[in-house]
Amino acid sequence: MAIDTVPPLIAAQLNYLVSHCPFSVKVEQMWSGCKNPSLLDRFTLVIPYCLDYIKWDVVYNAMYPLAAPDIIFGPEDENFQPFCGGTDKSSKNSLTEWNSKDPARLLSLIIELRDAYMLYQRRRIGEVDDERLKFEISTMPSREGIEMYLSSGTEKPEEVKFAVPLLDMDLNKLVAGSTWRHPQKICLQVIFPVGKKYSTAPAPRLKLISSAELKALFSIEDFRLPPWLDGMCTAEYLPALEEMLESQIKEAVSSIETRRKFIMALTPHFGRPIETDPVFCRRATFLASSGVFTFLVHFSFSLQFPKQQPTIVLQSSQHFNPHNAPVKSPNLAEYPWSPRWELLEMAERIFDFMAEECLNFKKYCNQMNQQ
């Protein structure tokens, strides 16, 4: 038997969970709870919730892999007791009639528990004695998927965190040919301090958060949030924000097309690119030569293209540094450029600049080799 194996029945459920889950679940660590320490049957799942993570321990039994697993929730959620008090109607859940042969069972259990956790947090926040929060919850638009979380530490002041998904559109479909596996989302995080009088309540802390892969299309850091006026509530704040965001996203999507056209404008001069990023058009590499000196030209485009000119790096295919890596030029960002030029003119000017710059680069390469 191999060292550290996960019993197949358990492995099937876990693999199915990780590959089919609508949100990205990670396994943090695995360990064994039986006498044979090489059989791994316990693991910690890291589950995204309310723009943060919750960690649940899943306890299987390697000796009896046919039995249903048990879940231990986080230390701050001791009062979260799902599946309790079910009389007859609600007593049916993912754990009743457990079928170890069905690999989708763990997934449905985790999804069911996460939904129950969402209701649990909502109930806790409903019990908080704070006028503004009560108002927020009652006016919060009935949009899908608002997650909330009451954090109550002993050293920290109590806070309620809302994660409001923005833009009711499928971002994955906006970009043709995107390879995103998980649905891309932009959320507004709103954090209210608890226990303040309504009149003196400070503005909540606001932050936009997007899924990590979205950064290739749109940078959330460059977005300026509209100001939160005194006495405002989230329901008032959202429409303006969404409008701004939507127009900027549309701009970002159309700028992909601009970049694609620019790369195409470069081809008459440099030849067909040997490598490009076909989805977001953020990078392109061409093979160029000057006499017998052959080199690669790497273009990388910022999201602000064409306001910001592309960064160019030259890489020799004939010169190598002492570590046997090809010699590269520093980033070239100082060259004639105007965003008002036509794309064809931009490409032409870059080609002219490159015709001179490659001589400098050749000199630089020769110097490097002599050292």
């Binding site: 360990w31 006498k35 039994n61 390697a62 000796m63 048990d70």
Partner: protein, 292 residues
Amino acid sequence: MDDFPIDKIQISGATLASLLHRSSAAAGDIHGYLFGHATISTPNPLSDHPTTTTTASLLIASITSFLSLPSHLPLPPPPPATDSTALLGWFSARRKTPLRPSLKDSTTTVSLSSSPSLAFIPQNSTLSLPPSLFLLITTPFPDQTIHTHEYKAFQYKGNAFEPKSLSIVNLGPSFRSQYDSFSPNVQFPMMDCELRGSNAMVEDENGENRADKKRQLKDQKQLDACAEGFELGRLSKLMASEAAYTGELEDLYDKMLAKIDGLSRLVEQTNAKVMEQENHNMRLRYRVAGLE
């Protein structure tokens, strides 16, 4: 009814030790019932101070025995409470897990403590108490040589687990006052036997019916089998002369030694058989789990 707080949970050192041993010897995780009794005691503060008017009575639960089975099997329907032992709650022992009630722990505890048929009445009181005790046993994450177990007791009260301290009662000077709490309470069946042999006047008492006599005879036979030739008549010889005494005693000891020897051999053989069976079960389990 279910909101009556338990002030103190007691367990004898031997019971806890056997519980811990059972959980560490088991192949997987185990769970089971905790039995014992609860009493209401009114502490009498031996104080001369006139202002101390503590009349608050304490509810003390004492765990005296348990029943365990592997966790993958459901708990059997609990046995009906008797006068001396009641179902106090249950325990769950799982290796290398955090010392917090899990999903299953909470559902089981809730269903136990909310079923009115399981409620029992503590001694010298009128209130009715549900089996709301929960004892959690785990082992620490990195394997350690000295610190091998962790446990925590809870009472499920008001929809939440309330941690309770578990006081271990060991034999010793402080045990004396609690002798009653841990005295054995299993009743042996009464064996109605007479001192036959020593008295030849075991004549018939005609009033007795035949069935009664038959049972008596059977009991006597069983008792004689256990005595193995050292029935009362022979023992009484020990009281006779000194020479007879030594001889008889040696004979007695020889027989005892032979018996112990035979027993230990029997234990050895059965252990080997159990081991073989367990290994066989393990192989079958591996096959079911697809590990072969």
